[in-house]
Symmetry: C3
Subunit: 263 residues, 3 copies
């Protein structure tokens, strides 16, 4: 059995994602395919990178992740495949894989890239506007079939990187920012929850609103309360109990969060 | 082959559901997974219960249904697994399984519950905010693998129930209500269509609008007509032919429907 | 292994599509199922036809395509199955399969239709409002299992056709129209890009706005530019680079596009 995931900004209305499954099945009929998201904002590479980053650690070794958020489709931007740790990735070379690369590097795991130049692993006819169908899906399916990375094109090392914003240390704590607003309206920051360990007091100011301390989970406060807590990837998240922090506070991705810490 | 379904209020934008598939595949690689809905209203346990209730009878014996609408995640609310008839269910203990329990009881089928206390069947690290990933998905996958219910934790009998509203008998008929507004704007009631059998006349009043008789299907009246008919689960539904009754009449879930019957 | 696709106007909120998977698995447990789209506009047969038409060529031989956009459900409209080329189709007889039929005819491939009259291949109880679940899904699953078309009902030849609008030749070029507005806001026309081959100059007027020439892909112009290009199915498409032509110009499906050609 082989495993493959899809992360795109294609939406689900137009059949693009269904078409990719057809392409993949022709090459690797028995593969299990999961959709990570197809509602990444159009051309929003960073949003796509974060969505895949939160999901990929939970997949089996050998899973192939096909990610297509591709403002440069049809231009000279490269298409790449990567082995990062025990998993495989196929994407345009525009920074979409950066957080997964950083993870593998931080852990001292294998990091290999190839430039997808071998048309043997593409569809016979390649359009200028839908490489998700014509290049990324078939390459992903061949990888799921066990094709070696080296078959797909020459090794490269200079892939485009687009690191996620990191929190900055300030005199009284950190200058952080919102990285994800999820469907519930929960607002995740780029601040690792580990910074709160052993502190006497921690508070977060977002959109002029101060939130003190970290609660354990939503249900420990009353509906409507604004809380800070540790999200499921161990970052600090601002939420409204049984409500939407995004709506209540007007938060969007990129908004600053001032963090004050007392030791 | 094993079968598993997912019903959540997670949306499909953020990758939560894809992540759950990864978790499940690591434990039960060959399982077939169906999404029932991920667009249940946030924390709307009743809506989740109804969506799963309409779908589950059509699945093969042995299917595992993982349902996560979970306002109490991270609190002391229990997590449970159940055998109801020939199918399995995994959910927070908040009433989400009530209509399936009532079905099995009404049919005299097996009804068994366990409290999910055995961490052997969870992910090694359990977050406070995403038990869909950390507890419910792995437990569902182990059940799909054939793990016995009794392995997962001790038997319990006092699960939380949250029965669907039932229609009330009135002097001239029934006081019913809207239970589902679907994507077409069709409005299903909690009135079993069987009550219309053998009656001389039946009419429905909803939002000040009276609808007489039951038609066989949408196409038997003209586009734009408001009709009452028997829905696909044998309840009475109010619809607009080739249109949206929800929009035309401003109907939402919970709205009252007065039913007048003449014998 | 067997392959099956689903194209409907059911949405994904209400569990209808999940239910269809359950029905299919009971009959053909090992089938791979892809969603083409469930966001076809309610009762919009033409939109459903186009979505399936763009996707089906990329699926393996023997794939069964179940398509349900069915304003006539529960009336006397027929339900049909078809072999078109090397693939199978199941749908209401309302024109939904027309572009696939025309493709097969144009290529001289097999074209066979049967009227679905044999209840042996349906669910035991057939509702008046959800033939997607009760007739089309089980028939599709039986076809995926290898059941012969002739088992499903008698051969017919007079299926309903609803051809896509074709561009009209004018004195100076073509009168074309918009056939698809995708999730990016890209606007595809019914004009085959082949008409631009060898011309000295080509321009497109849409909503009072003139767009000259065809560019190779989005990334060859600046963000915000309105461009015409060849889409992934070799039709002319009007797009805004990294933006939405639909929003920028207020375009919707059916809008006229005047094409001027100089030789």
């Amino acid at each position: 059995l082989a495993f493959l995931t899809l992360t795109t900004d294609f939406g689900t209305k137009d059949g693009f994602v269904g078409t990719m499954r057809g392409v993949i099945w022709k090459i690797c009929p028995q593969v299990q395919i999961a959709d990570i998201s197809h509602e990444i904002g159009p051309q929003n590479v960073l949003e796509g990178a974060i969505a895949l980053w939160r999901a990929y650690p939970f997949f089996p070794d050998g899973t192939v992740h096909v990610a297509v958020v591709d403002p440069g489709v049809g231009t000279e931007r490269r298409a790449i495949a990567a082995r990062l740790g025990a998993q495989y990735f196929v994407a345009p070379d525009n920074g979409l894989l950066t957080p997964m690369i950083e993870d593998a590097e931080a852990k001292g795991q294998p990091v290999e890239f190839v430039n997808l130049t071998n048309p043997k692993y593409w569809l016979p006819n390649v359009s200028h506007t839908f490489h998700g169908r014509d290049i990324f899906s078939p390459v992903g399916a061949w990888l799921a079939n066990g094709t070696a990375l080296s078959e797909l094109g020459p090794t490269i090392t200079d892939v485009v990187r687009r690191p996620l914003p990191k929190p900055e240390k300030t005199a009284t704590g950190y200058h952080a920012q919102i990285t994800v607003v999820d469907a519930f309206g929960n607002c995740t920051t780029n601040l690792p929850a580990a910074v709160a360990q052993g502190v006497k007091k921690i508070s977060f100011t977002l959109k002029g609103r101060q939130v003190d301390d970290l609660v354990t989970s939503y249900g420990h406060r009353s509906p409507g309360d604004i809380v800070a807590l540790v999200d499921s990837e161990s970052f600090v998240e601002i939420a409204v109990v049984n409500g939407s922090a995004a709506n209540a506070l007007g938060v969007k991705v990129g908004d600053p969060v001032e963090v004050t810490v007392e030791f």
